[in-house]
């Protein structure tokens, strides 16, 4: 024990009556209260987390749907346009052939066919 600076010193710090007897009870009550609050906070956090996850999932599905429908629509539009072009082309061809068929004799047609026949050598 270190040498006393003041002999028979009386403690100047006091505590309320019964402080140490009640301390443990008050402390445990606070710990339980803190834990209850913490559990509620955790529950709210978990719920919020699931809500966020749900929102993200819905957003992702929405984006995928948007892309898919957009792609399908574009493909359909392209298909329709292609068909329109083919139909228009076909009509033009028919008209052309109708027009020239009157002017060509059977001899002209035979000559023309003879010109486009290939030899095997031309192919290989």
């Amino acid at each position: 024990m270190e040498k006393r600076i003041i002999e028979n010193e009386k403690e100047a710090f006091q505590v309320p009556e019964g402080y140490f007897e009640n301390f443990e009870e008050r402390l445990l009550a606070r710990i339980k209260k803190d834990e209850t609050v913490q559990k509620q906070v955790n529950k709210t956090k978990t719920r919020q987390l699931w809500i966020n996850r749900g929102a993200i999932a819905v957003a992702i599905v929405g984006i995928i749907l948007l892309f898919t429908t957009s792609i399908i629509r574009t493909q359909n539009e392209i298909g329709e346009k292609t068909q329109q072009i083919i139909a228009a082309q076909s009509d033009e061809n028919d008209a052309y052939y109708d027009e020239i068929s009157d002017e060509l004799s059977s001899q002209d047609i035979e000559e023309a066919l003879a010109q486009i026949e290939f030899d095997e050598e031309d192919i290989y």
Binding site: E2, I5, E9, E11, A12, F13, P16, F20, L27
Partner: protein, 186 residues
Amino acid sequence: MTTDKIEELLPRLINAETRDTAFTELVKATQKTLYWHIRRIVTIHEDADDVLQNTYIKAWKSIEKFKGESQLYTWLYRIATNEALTHLASERMRSAMVPLEFEELMISRMEADVYYEGDEMAKKLKRAILSLPEKQRMVFNMRYYDEMPYAEISKITGTSEGALKASYHIAVEKIQKFVKEEDDVL
């Protein structure tokens, strides 16, 4: 309860099924020592009560992670010391005062506390102790009032035993000089 008996509580504290009862025993066994350690740092009863509760709450929350690298008692003491110093630091920040002014404020708050009523000599000693720098004051209190071995103080504060001895003797000289000067003034 002796320090050895406190250490024996550890396996029950780590086990979730026995933690509640073991923790109650730990609080009962250590509350007075820790309270006085904290009170001597923060000086006001209400603050000491708050800091003591925070100390145990922190211990409760981290007891599972306690690896037994130090003694349970030393660990608790260290938490209490850190909590008390953190409390003082936040009080100082709030007051926005330089150290000397803050010590003056602490003395006046201590003397205004309803749970402060020693005789004149005891009050003089408390004023002298409060005039010490925070860490030197803490070392002085641990040695003078808690009669803690230097080796133990060293584990809590992380300071070498030699430095602690020197710090303590300088503190005693300062306090004696302070008390003598006050006597001369009166």
